[in-house]
Subunit: 191 residues, 2 copies
Amino acid sequence: MTNLSIIGTGNMSQAIASIAAKGGHSVQQLGQSDVDTAISGDVVVLAVPYPAVGDVIAKRGEQLAGKVVVDITNPLDFETFDSLVVPADGSAAAEIAAALPDSKVLKAFNTTFAGTLAAGTVGPLTTTVLIAGDDADAKSTLAAIVTSGGVQAVDAGSLKRARELEALGFLQLTLAASEKISWTGGFGAVA
Amino acid sequence: MTNLSIIGTGNMSQAIASIAAKGGHSVQQLGQSDVDTAISGDVVVLAVPYPAVGDVIAKRGEQLAGKVVVDITNPLDFETFDSLVVPADGSAAAEIAAALPDSKVLKAFNTTFAGTLAAGTVGPLTTTVLIAGDDADAKSTLAAIVTSGGVQAVDAGSLKRARELEALGFLQLTLAASEKISWTGGFGAVA
């Protein structure tokens, strides 16, 4: 059993909490009113929108030292829906890793809509969580949580691949926003 | 019926030719020995590796004026498999569009392996061809060819989205090369 903390209480937080609980892991969800509650988990999911991450790091950065920190953000320019707001050769995950040098930062969950994560399926496929990161043990720990909850996990490589995962998440959001796919659909992976 | 020309004779060329033929379109395939044969198609697929595109444009650029030109490349650094060789804020498609200002350049077919394109399926899903481009009529023409051959087509937005399609193609290639997925699998799209 892994102790998981999730910062944020939105629909992605609920879906991730549901998967972890299904797999028998303990889950702590921390909302905005829990700012003084200590993080209990060894794996911490930052389930807040990208613009809110900096504030979480400012307030909780020291508590995140030594922990596995999971970035799920899609750092879109939501005004234009035409670009990301992170540098073209970087990623939100790379920024977070730079800000948290004592944490093991992973990118995950940004390529699945909350609906397909909660359902565990995307159309006829089992939902796949793509996980990128530089720490193999951290990736294995998160993959074990994901698979114990009935969802597939695929190691997408080093944290450098967060750039491609964010491109995929961005593309998927634009397709849903333009009604080319639904919010209960999207990309699935076939082994 | 649309007249399609495909420059290149590899497995992607064969798969695209098969789809177009199935849809009742005429197909001209041009290999390296056909350098003096004129392009007959109104839609021209550049089914050559990225490093060979410059040479095709140098030799055939004038013939491509006024035509729909389809870039299918994944401009990977194949030595490292760790980055693309195009600028981080650009794409191979953007480079090709800049080199062919009188053509209507589309990005397509780079997110499907030849196997899933030829089969028409990726696992339980119908294979989806993502098409990005700035000319709506050109996209419709290519989408009609694709769907007439039994494969799904999704309009992925403007040519600027080629950057994300190339990231997706890159990610998929790294997953297959590292045996996380097979060359007959990969990403599928659920509407």
